[in-house]
Amino acid sequence: MKLNELTLKESIDALDKKEITLEEIYKDLDQACQAKNEKLNIYLSINSKALIEAKKASKKPLRGLPIAVKDNFCTKGIVTTASSKVLDGFIPQYESTVTERLKASGGVIYGKTNMDAWAHGSSTETSDYGRTLNPRNSDHLPGGSSGGSAAAIAADFAVAAIGSETAGSIRQPAAWCGAVGFKPTYGRVSRFGVIAMASSTDSPGPIAKTVEDACILLNAFAGPDEKDGTSNKEKAPDFTSFLDQSIKGMKIGVIYQDVKEIKETNQKLLKELEILKELGATVELVQAMDPHQAIGVYTVVQRAEVSSNLARYDGIRYGGDRSNFGDEAKRRIMLGTFTLTKGYADRYYNLAQKVRTLYLNDYKELFKKYDVLVSPTSPSFAKEVGASFSSPMFGELEDMLLEASSITGLPGINVPFYRDEKTNLYLGANFIAPMWREDLVIKVADAFEKNTKWNSWRNK
């Protein structure tokens, strides 16, 4: 077995027992990337000083282990483009809070990962630097927008990865790549230095091999930040303290059973959820507000924010001028500008905000009865290469099941719940809980992962 295939926890333990060295890990990792990165196109850049930095960090919590970072996190001295040619060659003179804390905890930025340009998409096919392929099956897409980070996990190109999610961008690629994706509560992790997509829902978080790894990594960077006015003022808990807990007596509601498009996926999920009953939880089907309305709400609010957030790339500063904006960015700028225009704001933006409130109220009611809600993460398996060009609303449809909980800021974890023998592609389940209750989703997702056979690292 190659050492880059170890989980974060296994790597830390083996290093501490001196069974392996950082040099050995990095050697195997470098070899894997040299062999396959050109084809898979996961990393946009690889840090040539990674091992040197790793050795200096060997005593810290993350032991100098290699972490993949999505290219929308500003990294001081390292080119950061959000996969858009508009920012071609942009080298930030400042560090995002997440990567600053990652480094302080002994994580090493191994490389910057590919993504949909500006995080606009769910395929990593709309990157200005070429598409990323799914390491589980290279005829398929990795999902997105954090597709590079999810693929880095599936390909063992890093021990853990960092992504960001606006509505699905961590959990959907994690689902498609058979990895764990953890979107914390909005405000749990600082957005400072993350190139903004839709500011009111952008949430950085880990993509990892196991729920445990995701918790270890999240511990490194969650918590209040003076540089982000929307970050939570309260200290973050130790997320690893919610691992290996009994879920006896917990109430789990299964939502979206009535959504026609996902009938087959739902059937598979229901079967797998039986294990939670065996572990002492109650599992019930429950009706939640129609997720289709959330597509509209999310699209309107997000486009409005995008049109404003991208205004700074005015062609005066930065590498590329505005002709470098791809079709998707242009569509979003136009739609967002339109919905904010006088006379239309009431019909679109303001109305969307009202429906957002309806979703908030719906969850409030549901969480009176249930600790955790669960549904498939994505309607189906990873789509084939080229699929994203089929519809301008490709991403919104693929993320349909995640949008309602994203626009309401809820925490959620994707864990694999099925693998197709023929295609080697995965399905993922999305566990969500009320704001600030990451503890609940961790407990259930961890129990589910450890008591099913679908995690490819735990079940080699």
Binding site: P92, Y94, R191, D228, G229, S308, A311, R317, L340, A345
Partner: protein, 446 residues
């Protein structure tokens, strides 16, 4: 004149907080030794940089609102005002749209009350300077625009009045009083020449006797002194009157003021008016205050010029003119009040004392001891204690003795007055108040 002025003012003032509105950069655009020194990713609008609101600036805005008798919104928020300009690095300005911190207040002037429509807080833009330099090194001058971000994101309050202003002099008085209040509150320097305070006037006319607002308005910008404000309004009144008398309606537009010609000129018509696509800034959580917090801010407001003037009049029997003069600024008011208190204790006439201080008869400096100033006043006062009868005796004696001089005076040669005063002083044999002597001498002569 058949038409009457309808005018509202929009005043922008930079707050003098230590740091900028949304980042920790130093807020000192005028004191910076070089351009672009006080900058960071936030005020440069770099990718991923986030604004964090300056609490002090918000409290000061509310303090100003309270000083202007405004209602305060306990729940407020910042909005994005989206537009493109080279001095705006984010492509939007963080401002306030539908829920400003303060609304519905007033400021009284000698020509009536001016309603305050709203006061909101926003960030200033960077400063553009258009220059000719050899930019590309080919030995020839190029026209370039340089951008200084020292001013980018400096806290800026905007105070908008109701269209209550009825004359150019009232507009000027309003502006001066507003500036005085901000200085009293110690929240803004309001240096108009440098752009620390900027004026815009919305000017239109309505027919005498009508009450409804005119259906057009002309916005006058780039006014950087109260004198120019007065001149611009007067110019507009004349210009618009002529147009209206010709049976036409003035165009709704933005006009600039040229201080060299004393005229306003058209800058932009209504057709190009921007749609700013306001929406709540998702980077900044809404701001909430409790009534207790507002009362704490209120309790920090010092006595303001108007109240000070009234109190000086009642407490020290000063006339209005003197009281207003003393209250011109806080430091001066505090200094003079110390003197007045002392004078009161010693049963000296405060009005006389202030007259002597203000007309320069008593020379003093602000760092002088109060007791020394009082002593100077006492010395002068003793001069004045000359008995009128005693003075009259002396005058009569002199006029009898200097018949030639008296004749010359009566022939119109008033220069002899000085000579006669000297004689009277000599006759009195002690220091006397020249003005008193002169007055009584002239009265006798006529």
């Amino acid at each position: 004149m058949p038409y009457k002025l309808v005018c509202g003012l929009e005043v922008h003032a930079e707050l003098k907080t230590k740091s900028k509105m949304f980042c920790s950069c130093k807020n000192d655009p005028f004191g910076a030794p070089k351009p672009n020194l006080y900058t960071c990713p936030v005020c440069l609008g770099m990718p991923g940089a986030l604004p964090v609101a300056n609490r002090k600036a918000i409290e000061w805005t509310i303090k100003l609102g309270l000083a202007l008798h405004c209602q305060i919104n306990l729940f407020s928020k910042f909005d994005r005002k989206n537009y493109f300009y080279a001095d705006l690095p984010k492509g939007y300005q963080i401002s306030q749209y539908d829920i400003p911190f303060c609304h519905d207040g007033y400021l009284d002037t000698s020509e009536g009350r001016v309603g305050i429509h709203r006061i909101h807080l926003e960030e200033d833009t960077a400063k553009l300077s258009h220059q000719e330099i050899d930019f590309d090194g080919d030995g020839e001058l190029d026209k370039v625009t340089l951008i200084d971000f020292n001013r980018s994101s400096v806290p800026l309050v905007e105070i908008v009045t109701e269209p209550d202003i009825i004359s150019a002099t009232q507009a000027k008085e309003y502006g001066q009083k507003l500036r005085q209040i901000m200085r009293y509150l110690d929240i803004a320097n309001c240096d108009m020449e440098k752009g620390g305070m900027r004026l815009e006037a919305n000017i239109s006319l309505r027919r005498e006797g009508k009450n409804e607002l005119p259906d057009y308005k002309v916005e006058c910008k780039n006014i950087n002194s109260f004198k120019f404000l007065e001149a611009a309004i007067n110019f507009e009144v004349d210009r618009q009157t002529t147009i209206l008398q010709n049976g036409e309606q003035p165009i709704q537009e933005t006009r600039g003021y040229n201080s060299t010609t004393g005229k306003t000129f058209s800058q932009r018509s209504k057709e190009d008016a921007a749609d700013y696509r306001y929406f709540p800034d998702p980077d900044l959580p809404p701001i909430e205050f409790t009534t207790e917090e507002i009362e704490t801010i209120r309790s920090e407001i010092p006595e303001l010029p108007a109240e000070k003037t009234t109190r000086f009049m009642s407490e020290y029997n000063l006339n209005e003119k003197s009281a207003k003069n003393l209250a011109i600024n806080m430091e001066q008011a505090l200094f003079f009040e110390k003197i007045l208190k002392e004078a009161k204790k010693e049963n000296l006439d405060p009005q006389k004392l202030i007259n002597n201080l203000l007309n320069g008869k008593i020379k003093f400096s602000f760092d002088e001891k109060i007791s020394v100033i009082i002593a100077k006043f006492k010395a002068i006062s003793s001069n004045e204690n000359i008995d009128e009868k005693e003075l009259q005796l002396a005058i009569d004696k002199v006029l009898n003795a200097e018949k030639d001089a008296v004749a010359k005076y009566k022939a119109g040669k008033t220069v002899v007055t000085g000579f006669l005063i000297g004689c009277v002083m000599k006759e009195l044999g002690k220091k006397a108040d020249v003005i008193q002597v002169k007055q009584q001498l002239i009265a006798t002569l006529s």
